[in-house]
């Protein structure tokens, strides 16, 4: 395998595997948040605000993978 192919493969694998964890995490977290809202609708605003903070933090992991993939393709 030449270096170019390895780079592209690496970028694909980095993005794919890197999106797996955050995807699971986001699903779990948003599901739990909706469960909480269903149980206590009067807390909906607080829960939603905190959910978005959590989304921002969880999503960052996938974005690191995205940046690594970009670096592999365009810089490495």
């Amino acid at each position: 395998m030449d270096a170019e192919a390895a780079k592209l493969l690496g970028a694909g694998i980095a993005m794919g595997v890197g999106a797996l964890g955050p995807g699971l995490g986001l699903g779990l977290m948003i599901g739990k948040a909706f469960e909480g809202i269903a149980r206590q609708p009067e807390m909906a605003n607080d829960i939603r605000t905190n959910m978005f903070i959590g989304i921002g933090v969880t999503e960052a992991v996938a974005l690191y993978a995205f940046v690594v993939a970009l670096i592999l393709i365009f810089v490495a």
């Binding site: 605003n45 607080d46 605000t49 978005f52 903070i53 989304i55 921002g56 933090v57 999503e59 960052a60 974005l63 690191y64 995205f66 940046v67 365009f74």
Partner: protein, 284 residues
């Protein structure tokens, strides 16, 4: 003509049309590189001032458009405030309330009045910048229409993140004095562990800079890249049926991007508020 007969006529015509689209020879093959859409070629060459290149490129133009649009809209709305708001004023009021009560009021315990102007400005700036990025504007290569967002540029988002970073520590130092740095580690921890926690906290403070800037940058870049790929696939397949399907799909992605533009502005502002609020009201 009965309904059934009409259906019998319409279905074959539509099917024949789709088949015709599928077999019709496409146009010329065009070369299209998605990465090129994000390269910053100078639109207007200007002499450089020492190491600083003053040339005007796409990102600069988009920043100007965002700033101009935001200023004009804010002035227009604030000059013509009415007790019974029109549609546009109601929208702006809703966003303003979201920034004031939802973001600042929701996560900051003290200093709300002091820090709302900054967080509100960041929210509106990022929001308008993201939304402007979804308009095709003629600033591409050879002044062709292209998509770009000022926030799909790491330098812009890093500058915004640096504002939040510097202001966070300024807020903490002004309120807590030099105790601010001591409070980074919990007072109850044993000595050696305390230093370790302090270092970990320092690293996490620095990584906030990375995550805050890269989150916005990568989201906008990825959204624009996906749109560009969908537009480009029609050129690559050279097939009208594929083009029809892909353009339909790209409309859906476009709608999703409007949602993402809003969510990312919200997350950037709310995390700024969380960081500044955390520096103001430290846990001991």
């Amino acid at each position: 003509m009965s309904r059934r007969l009409r259906l019998l006529l319409v279905v074959p015509v539509v099917l024949a049309g789709l088949v015709a689209l599928a077999v019709l020879p496409g146009g010329e093959r065009h070369e299209f590189e998605v990465a090129k859409e994000f390269e910053l070629e100078p639109l207007v060459e200007l002499p450089s001032l020492g190491p600083v290149d003053l040339s005007i490129n796409k990102a600069v133009v988009y920043l100007w458009i965002t700033t101009g649009l935001l200023t004009v809209l804010a002035l227009a709305v604030s000059r013509s405030l009415r007790l019974a708001p029109g549609r546009f004023q109601a929208l702006v009021e809703m966003l303003y309330e979201l920034a004031r009560d939802g973001i600042v009021g929701g996560v900051m315990k003290s200093g709300r009045a002091t820090w709302f102007p900054y967080i509100g400005s960041v929210f509106f700036f990022v929001l308008v910048s993201n939304l402007v990025g979804l308009l095709p504007l003629p600033f591409g290569e050879h002044w062709q229409p292209s998509y770009y967002a000022a926030t799909a540029n790491l330098y812009v988002t890093l500058t915004l993140a640096l504002f939040t970073f510097v202001l966070t520590h300024y807020a903490g130092l002004r309120k807590n004095g030099l105790r601010y740095f001591v409070n980074w580690a919990p007072a109850a921890a044993p000595p050696v562990l305390k230093q370790l926690i302090w270092v970990i906290h320092l690293v996490s403070e620095l990584f906030r800079l990375v995550s805050l800037s890269v989150r916005l940058f990568a989201n906008m870049l990825a959204g624009h890249a996906i749109l560009a790929v969908f537009f480009a696939m029609a050129l690559i397949f050279q097939n009208y049926l594929a083009a029809l399907v892909l353009q339909g799909a790209s409309v859906l992605i476009y709608l999703f991007e409007i949602f993402v533009a809003f969510i990312q502005a919200f997350i950037f502002a709310i995390l700024s508020a969380v960081y500044i609020g955390g520096a103001l009201d430290q846990e001991h």
